[in-house]
Amino acid sequence: MIRGETRRLARGLAFTGLWVVGLGVFTAYPVLASLYYSFCDYSILQRPVWIGLENFRQLATDDVFWLSLRNTLFFAAISVPLGTVVSLSLALLLNQEVRGRAFFRALFYLPSIVPAVASSMLWLWIFNGQHGVLNQALAPVFALWGGQPPAWFGDPDWAKPALVLMSLWGVGNSTIIYLAGLQDVPRELHESAELDGAGPLRRLWHVTLPMISPVIYFNVVMGLIGAMQVFTQAFIMSGGPDGNPARSTLFYALYLYSTAFYDLRMGYASAMAWVLFLLIAGLTWAANRVASKRVHYSS
């Protein structure tokens, strides 16, 4: 009996052994080490020195930290709702009886798998203030009011909105998830609602959206987690972790990266990482609270 159990345990561990190592070395140890470093002065060149809450105290008065947090929250607060509306609208369009659905679906999805470095470069070119195709098209429109189109990534006020617009190009992934959710909505529900005299908008509001609310919840949470960690696009746009122009695209992950790997303030960066972790956990918890009232899970 005992022997059989030991054998089963040994067999289970034999199959999951790689993961025991992987979890330990590449996740569990780093999480614990990072927590420890967040209370230390640590520069990777020397041993960490315990300084208690000093890192967190400094964070509270670090203007650049607050700026990066504001930039990130601004980006998330605009790009996540906008992305949700756009991707859900695309999915609703594709869910109509249209010919060539596979073609449109492929077209909307494709941009989301373009390597971030290449797509950032491309948008940097499209948004180019002088020669970019967008401003070439916008210039005559703005000229009607005697104005000029914004310089986008050259203008601190417009760099973040430009990043948001760019992020909309990549909503295809969530569009596919929404579409899958929409196709799972039972047809009978629509038919009976129609029999009861509900128009298309009421059916959307009272049938479709409640039925796919778990999918919306999933996408919003994933979108939030992703937006809070936005890095590559901003790194390419400003040619490094400075968040140019005028730190307007200095996002949390960029500041964390440059703190850790340019300034070698690894302890301080770890403290930032834990603040981010708590922030994401908090946002997820808040989303959960909303979801428990609004999300409809059919059994």
Partner: protein, 393 residues
């Protein structure tokens, strides 16, 4: 799904879809169009759609030129043979005083609407100054010609050669394998990371997921719950200590941190595969066990062949992740010969300062194209993969 739709709303629906499709396709089309243009045409205002080649007849020879501008008023084309070679300039007829133009010779009269042209330099470095002239519009012959030669030049200068060396007009310093690289190096590095990563991810996650899905052992469920919990940890939390781990292992500066961890499983893929394995009927395993098959054989010969769909999803998404990853290479790679394509592309851009847009777009096209090709061959796997990811919430 609407069953009764009026023709008007049909029309609106297709119009909307078509417009959106254009909007989504445009950036990639623009990337391609830019990549096959000569540099001066990338800055055309208004923007042009097709790459053009202009040429004029000079001394019985057709020479490719760039159109510099149109002559606005009746003018004279002046020539001077000076110490610096042949100089040319345009002077308006109105108010022209030959006495004040010592050394300049009037070559011809130029009418409004004529083009001033410059001989197109094949390279930036040359023995003599490019020839300039003013010609009537009908003397300029224009045809559409994609400049495919942008690609080899872009890829060579991505590797660190100067544009001139890439075009063959000068010879750079000799190739130093410690600091220099070629496009082929970047491609090879990327493929190493992708292929070794994919093999590792498919193999390890399948083995691990089998342990969670098909075997019963003490602590399994607690361990699995812990596995799921690790998915919540954002990467920045791991970033600093992970760098230390790779440094201690002596992996920093090599490709190992980018593919080796895939051989030790990842929570999400374990979860995905476990869900799939659980749908395979237990009776198949039981029958094999009665026949005396070992657990490994059941896994390898029964469960795995039935699990191709989920293996394909994991393989595809890991490939895509490894191909596109930028932060990983940025953190761990220090020397150019170890760069992956994504990092090399960013490096190329930061060194160019963003002027040679045709070359940047050509290099970007090269990193995007494999992804597009992959997508068209594996579309079903992509769509299935994403759809299952979303609905497993």
């Amino acid at each position: 799904m609407n069953t009764r739709v009026s023709p008007a709303s049909r029309f609106a629906l297709y119009g909307l879809l078509g417009g959106l499709a254009l909007l989504f396709a445009f950036p990639l089309i623009w990337m391609f169009v830019t990549s096959i243009k000569p540099v001066e045409q990338t800055m055309d205002s208004p923007p042009s759609w097709l790459p053009l080649e202009h040429s004029v007849q000079w001394d019985g020879e057709r020479v490719e030129v760039t159109l510099d501008g149109r002559v606005a008023e009746p003018s004279l084309w002046l020539v001077r043979e000076g110490a610096a070679g042949r100089e040319v300039r345009l002077a308006p007829v109105a108010g022209f005083d030959p006495a004040a133009e010592a050394g300049w010779r009037v070559e011809r009269r130029v009418e409004p609407g004529w083009w001033t042209v410059t001989e197109r330099s094949a390279t930036k470095v040359r023995e003599r100054a490019p020839r300039r002239d003013a010609v009537p519009p009908e003397a300029v012959k224009t045809r559409v010609r994609p400049r495919w030669e942008n690609y080899p030049v872009a890829l060579a200068s991505m590797g660190g050669r100067s544009v001139e060396a890439a075009e063959g007009s000068v010879t750079d310093a000799p190739f130093n394998p410690e600091t220099d690289a070629t496009f082929a190096t970047f491609l090879r590095n990327t493929l190493v990371v992708c292929v070794l990563g994919v093999v590792g991810a498919v193999f390890s996650n399948a083995v691990i997921a089998y342990g969670f899905a098909r075997l019963k052992w003490r602590g399994r469920d607690a361990f699995f719950a812990l596995t799921l919990a690790t998915m919540m940890v954002p990467f920045p939390v791991l970033m600093v200590p992970l760098y230390g781990v790779f440094k201690d292992l002596g992996w920093v500066g090599t490709l190992l941190p980018l593919w080796a961890p895939a051989w030790f499983g990842s929570a999400f893929n374990i979860f995905l595969m476990r869900q799939f394995f659980r749908t395979i009927p237990e009776e198949l395993s039981e029958a094999a066990r009665i026949d005396g098959a070992s657990e490994w054989r059941i896994f390898w010969q029964i469960v795995l062949p039935l699990s191709r769909p989920v293996l394909a999803v994991v393989a595809l998404f890991h490939f895509l992740y490894a191909w596109n990853d930028f932060l990983g290479p940025l953190l761990y790679l220090t020397r150019k010969p170890t760069f992956t394509l994504a990092l090399a592309l960013q490096n190329f851009q930061s060194q160019q300062g963003g002027v040679q847009w045709h070359h940047l777009m050509a290099a970007s096209m090269v990193t995007v194209l494999p992804v597009i090709v992959l997508f068209f061959f594996a579309q079903k796997t992509f769509i299935r993969g994403i759809a299952t990811t979303g609905s497993k919430s």
